[in-house]
Symmetry: C2
Subunit: 120 residues, 2 copies
Amino acid sequence: MPTASGHTSAICAKKVIGTPVKDTTGHKLGEIEDVVLDKQSNNVMFSVVSFGGVLGMGEKYYPIPWSTLKYNEEEDAYIVNLTGEQLEAAPADSMDELTRDDGVAYRDRAHDYYRANPYW
Amino acid sequence: MPTASGHTSAICAKKVIGTPVKDTTGHKLGEIEDVVLDKQSNNVMFSVVSFGGVLGMGEKYYPIPWSTLKYNEEEDAYIVNLTGEQLEAAPADSMDELTRDDGVAYRDRAHDYYRANPYW
């Protein structure tokens, strides 16, 4: 089913990876670094966004629930309704830590921080 | 939760893409070309496997349910319990066709062909 904004729901991981992430004013915050998949439950656990290049926060990666990202066709970007300050306080870590013990800790923290409905 | 074979359940899409796909005798059949994600339901719709280089079937891509692929650590590959003949008869198409109309047709065909439990 297409979403309310008309774009399709099925999307290839290769297209997702590298897509810019912008705030609601169209300012680029970062981009999608990867997507963490759950082999057992068949779900997308969370997306991983890198903001390091923009906000100067080094090599940290931000787990963001897949449902939190809203794709905007005109911008060809995912839009998050967050300020830079809110992102600085968001859960972030190295990729190894994000997926440690099957990623459950950061899955939970990300869904809590962004107030996304748990899929599990 | 780790799977029965001990490997973890959380896996990054970038690691999945490019992983070899082998038959149960360890013969390489192809590799993971991409993973189709459902933006709305939060699920992995299916993996896309390219067998063209090996079986000489050109540029066709094979949708295979995520749950059908069993990762084998020793082989560093996904194992499918299928012969080359079975793969030749499997659903396959161009990437555009696989994801047309949100990929529902090939999602359904793939789950039916490989007798995978529907996640939806």
